[in-house]
């Protein structure tokens, strides 16, 4: 079980590495599509990476309503569940 902080760190690492984004651009408010230019095909790679990093099962469906980095962090937190 990871804390929200840890999940955020994990998401930042994944985004910075997979898409070569400057860490300063990755904020909780950043919009994945509009600000970080991550499209649906990129999302497949991102989810794959997050699956490996968390060891949790995730599918694209779980992320359907995700728009911002914060949405992403909260979704992963929810998927970890108690």
């Amino acid at each position: 079980m990871q804390s929200r902080e840890q999940i955020y760190a994990l998401v930042r690492d994944a985004l910075a590495e997979l898409f070569e984004l400057e860490p300063a651009r990755i904020t909780l408010d950043a919009h994945l599509n509009d600000d970080l230019e991550i499209d649906s095909i990129d999302a497949v790679d991102l989810i794959d990476r997050l699956k490996k990093a968390t060891g949790k099962k995730m599918s694209a469906d779980d992320f359907r309503s995700v728009r911002t980095v914060n949405d992403l962090v909260l979704t992963i937190e929810r998927l970890q569940g108690p």
């Binding site: 997979l18 898409f19 095909i41 990129d42």
Partner: protein, 164 residues
């Protein structure tokens, strides 16, 4: 749509990615679902389907622009084609298509038939090996670079007109 037919006619053992809306259209649904063509829905399954087509030795015809270019406008390519290429293809064979006069152009009424019979020119470019793009970089970064390379290649070639 016409371009897909030309290319499928010219190449053996090929498969194409088609608009996912065509799977829902009453007129085209049956034809496309029987064909085994890859639906362009942005899902893992679609990428996997496309990758399997390539790994089985078939070619995959993709129109990354998704539409016809309008003269004077910058080209934009969807990154999906590059992403699939980086994952599963050995090389890309660029095909350039020109049509004079411009018929069936976006924003032109299809019934306004030009006075001259339209003339389509298809030219095959040199194979572009993908291994150098892949390198050690993560897939999405490689796909972005490949996509940018393709846009530059097409813009230069298309604006220069067909070679004689």
């Amino acid at each position: 749509m016409c371009d897909v037919i030309f290319l499928l006619g010219f190449s053996r053992d090929s498969c194409s990615i088609v608009k996912h809306q065509l799977f829902r259209n009453a007129f085209t649904a049956l034809a496309v679902s029987q064909s085994g063509y890859v639906k362009n829905e942005p899902t893992e399954a679609m990428i996997e389907h496309a990758s399997n087509v390539l790994k089985s030795g078939q070619s995959l015809i993709v129109f990354p622009q998704g539409t016809r270019s309008r003269p004077g406008e910058a080209m934009r390519f969807h990154r999906g084609a590059a992403a699939i290429g980086i994952r599963a293809a050995d090389f890309i064979t660029p095909v350039f298509i020109w049509c004079t006069p411009v018929v069936l152009g976006k924003g032109q009424p299809w019934y306004r038939v030009p006075a001259r019979r339209p003339h389509f020119v298809l030219q095959i470019g040199e194979d572009l090996p993908l291994a150098p793009f892949r390198g050690e970089r993560p897939g999405p970064v490689a796909a972005r670079q490949l996509n940018q390379h393709l846009i530059e290649l097409y813009e230069a070639r298309i604006s220069g007109g067909p070679l004689h």
